[in-house]
């Protein structure tokens, strides 16, 4: 096979000692910046762009690829241990991951996320190497109408995190919509909900919102209940790594997460967050341990989304390497690095720069192996964080969240927003409103709105685009089944057990 030959050649490029060192440096750095909530891979690579003046193209892309993959690993660590997501793609991980950590299974949560990331990253990278031309065709078939239908499908994931009361859950969701709308409207260039503040024109960063609601809000809540003597953190229960039961519960979510993450990541407007939402919803539906979701923490809810975000990270490279399309901030900056070498990334990149591209793909495989080797022993160290007495631990989380938020754009306004949201998070926790729907609303709301308005502009106001495009219709149908199916199923089950004479409502 031709691809195998290319890949073998790629490995010969990546396996030189110098390039291996670059890869090790990149993955270490990536893990570190992934852990910090403020610094993302895009910003880090942008800051390192000047090294392109001094090192060979292969070396710098291997370094960048390592940072990119490493950040995906590192982001989950703080989500799980401190409820402080390092990246927007690891917000969902915090939902179950942090619950697991509190009930003494932090080691298992970290292990399933590291191994799941490895499995999904490897599957995704294989996808980049072998399926890129096919996947990119599928991805380009997605227009605004299809994206909108995908968002509708993603909205059913909200039902998975609504908690016990749908009214409270939906209230949170709509609060998320409002926060998401702050800033200049992309479609018309007009500011919305900015109250005349220049700093709000670019909107509220989703990471600040997640850190504020999850980490700061939770910390304030814990502090307020300290003397009630509840919610003690269990440092570690059972083995450090995963038990065989946990392995059995993890491998299917890994594969499903990879299958969801890779194609959505390859879509130009797919992103890394939506696959994690979808994966979480699916794992919750399919799990045999539904009672663990939101209580002691279900391992499926960590394994699936973690696999999904790593596979989507690989997916993003598909349009970048096959068409020269930057579909994420990180990809855009990597493309500008190509330019500083005088390489114009485009559809001909694979033919004109074969060495570079295949070297990059090979180094992604190596980065994955290095990352899993790097991260598994670290778990023992990480879980020790949970042995820190609660007051010091929570104070540390606050410091960490504050410093990280300041790092995003060195803006004091961001800190004000962080603590306002933290106070909101505290009140929400106190009065039992779920916080996850806020984040989902904040991410999905503006995306759905933008795609909807784009589709309507293109169709000149004709609604039929949503059901006349086969792909869009399929997605809407799936969403409908996802929403109504369980109710019909429950009703049928109910009738079958109780007999046909039973009238619904007199149960």
């Amino acid at each position: 096979m031709e691809t195998l030959g290319h890949l073998a050649h790629g490995f010969s490029v990546a396996f030189t000692p110098v390039n291996l060192l670059w890869c090790l440096l990149g993955t270490t750095l990536g893990t570190a910046i992934g852990v910090l909530p403020g610094l993302g891979p895009a910003l880090t690579i942008a800051l390192l762009l000047p090294i392109t003046y001094q090192v060979a193209p292969e070396a710098s892309f291997i370094l960048f690829a390592g940072i990119y993959y490493g950040a995906m690993y590192g982001g989950s660590t703080t989500s799980i241990l401190l409820n402080t997501p390092g990246e927007s793609a690891t917000i969902v991980t915090a939902l179950e991951g942090n619950k697991m950590a509190r009930s003494g299974r932090g080691g298992a949560a970290l292990a399933t996320s590291a191994i799941g990331s490895f499995v999904a990253g490897t599957i995704g990278t294989l996808g980049v190497a072998f399926l890129a031309p096919v996947v990119v065709k599928f991805a380009l078939a997605f227009g605004p109408a299809e994206y909108f239908s995908l968002m509708v499908l993603a909205f059913i994931t909200v039902s998975a995190v609504l908690g016990s009361s749908s009214v409270r859950g939906l209230t949170s969701l709509f609060a998320g919509f409002v926060i998401g709308m702050i800033g200049v409207d992309l479609q018309t260039g007009q500011p919305r909900f900015t109250f005349g503040m220049t700093e709000l024109l670019d909107g509220v960063d989703v990471i600040i919102c997640a850190v504020g609601l999850f980490a700061v809000g939770e910390t304030l809540y814990m502090a307020s209940r300290r003397y009630a003597g509840k919610d003690e953190i269990v440092p570690l229960r059972g083995s450090l790594y995963m038990t065989s039961a946990e392995w059995a519960r993890s491998w299917k979510p890994w594969l499903r997460g990879a299958a969801i993450g890779f194609p959505i990541g390859a879509m130009p407007a797919g992103g890394a967050e939506i696959p994690t939402f979808l994966s979480y919803a699916i794992e919750k539906k399919l799990s045999n341990h539904k009672e663990e979701f939101g209580t002691v923490g279900a391992i499926e809810g960590v394994a699936g989304p973690e696999a999904a975000n790593n596979a989507s990270a690989a997916g993003v490279l598909v349009p970048m390497l096959t068409l020269g399309l930057p579909t994420s901030a990180t990809a855009a900056i990597m493309l500008s690095a190509f330019q500083s070498y005088g390489i114009n990334p485009g559809p001909l990149l694979l033919t004109t720069q074969g060495d570079l591209v295949w070297g990059l793909i090979a180094s992604l495989f190596i980065a994955n192996v290095i990352l899993v080797i790097l991260n598994l022993p670290l778990i023992g160290l990480w879980v020790r964080l949970l042995k820190i007495p609660a007051p010091q631990l929570y104070a540390g989380i606050l410091v960490f969240a504050t410093v990280g938020t300041y790092g995003i754009s060195q803006s004091p306004i961001d800190l004000v927003i962080l603590y306002l949201l933290g106070a909101a998070g505290f009140l929400m926790r106190r009065f039992d409103f779920p916080t996850a729907p806020v984040i989902i609303g904040m991410i999905l709301g503006p995306l759905a709105e933008t795609q909807f308005r784009r589709a309507m502009t293109i169709s000149n106001g004709d609604w039929s685009v949503f059901y006349k495009h086969p792909l869009s219709l399929t997605l809407l149908t799936l969403a409908f089944i996802g929403l109504v199916g369980p109710h019909i199923w429950a009703y049928v089950e109910h009738r079958r057990r109780r007999g046909p004479e039973h009238v619904p409502g007199d149960a």
Partner: protein, 325 residues
Amino acid sequence: MLNRRRFLMSTAAASAAGLAGLHLSPAFAEGAPQIQIFVPAAPGGGWDQTGRTMDQVLRSEKLISGSQITNVGGAGGTVGLPQFINQWNGKGNSLMVAGMVMVGAIIANKAANNLTQVTPIARLTGEFEALVVPAESPFKTAADFVAALKADPTKVPVAGGSAGGSDHILFGLIAKTVGVPATNLSYVPFAGGGEALSALLGNQVAAGISGFGEFSEQVKAGALRLLAISADKRQDGIDAPTLKEAGIDVELFNWRGVFAPPGVSDADKAAMITLVESMAKSDAWATECKNRNWTQILLTGDDYAKFVAEDTARIEAILKDLGLA
């Protein structure tokens, strides 16, 4: 080879989280001045690349001993501009990178500060825009596109960057020139070049307008057809007419240049203009510009100030027509 010290310093700065925008360079040309570059955008974008490339070229040409780059991103530069005006006032060794995008953002955001409050040093580069259609499109020439636009502008959805940005402005200018009311246009804004490009490649829209560099590789590969470019004259190696040649009297460069803060002395201003001019005339700068598809359109001092004023008036008029100002 890699300069380890510089690299480690950037890395340390990055890891230290607080200093994300700072990039320090060691001095190695004693005697040459040290300058400060203010980039009112996050790292990675066009202004940031302009600043960092300037730093690189100025140092390799031994024109400066080193520079410090500060990034304050947000809202098309209108978050950074007030800081540069207030906190950098009178600092004769400083430059801010800005450009046409900031002119548009100041008008659209109704910002309190504008570019008349800073000291124009030099317009450095520009990127001309391109009008493209998917390879399967029935439009073969710019005239076909204009004919369709005149027949019914709502049936010709055009993809480009954010509303009120350079792509939208060019579309508005084209429509105005051929006599189509700007308010009837069907403009589909996308964030970032990749998304607009994929809408074109996936045949979701009728045409696209963006910086030529965004489309050049797709045009080369035959996936997109180039109808016209917004440059002032035909470009070597580009097989397409300018808009003017195609009968649409519009010329537009998404220009980038540098400004000194307010309150700098005339001597500092003159020295800065000389410094930037020597950089712009170097071979190293020419190579960087070629790699990045930047056209050199050097204009300094008072001529530059006059140009900024004219461009502001033109952009304000078209943004009003588009309903954005």
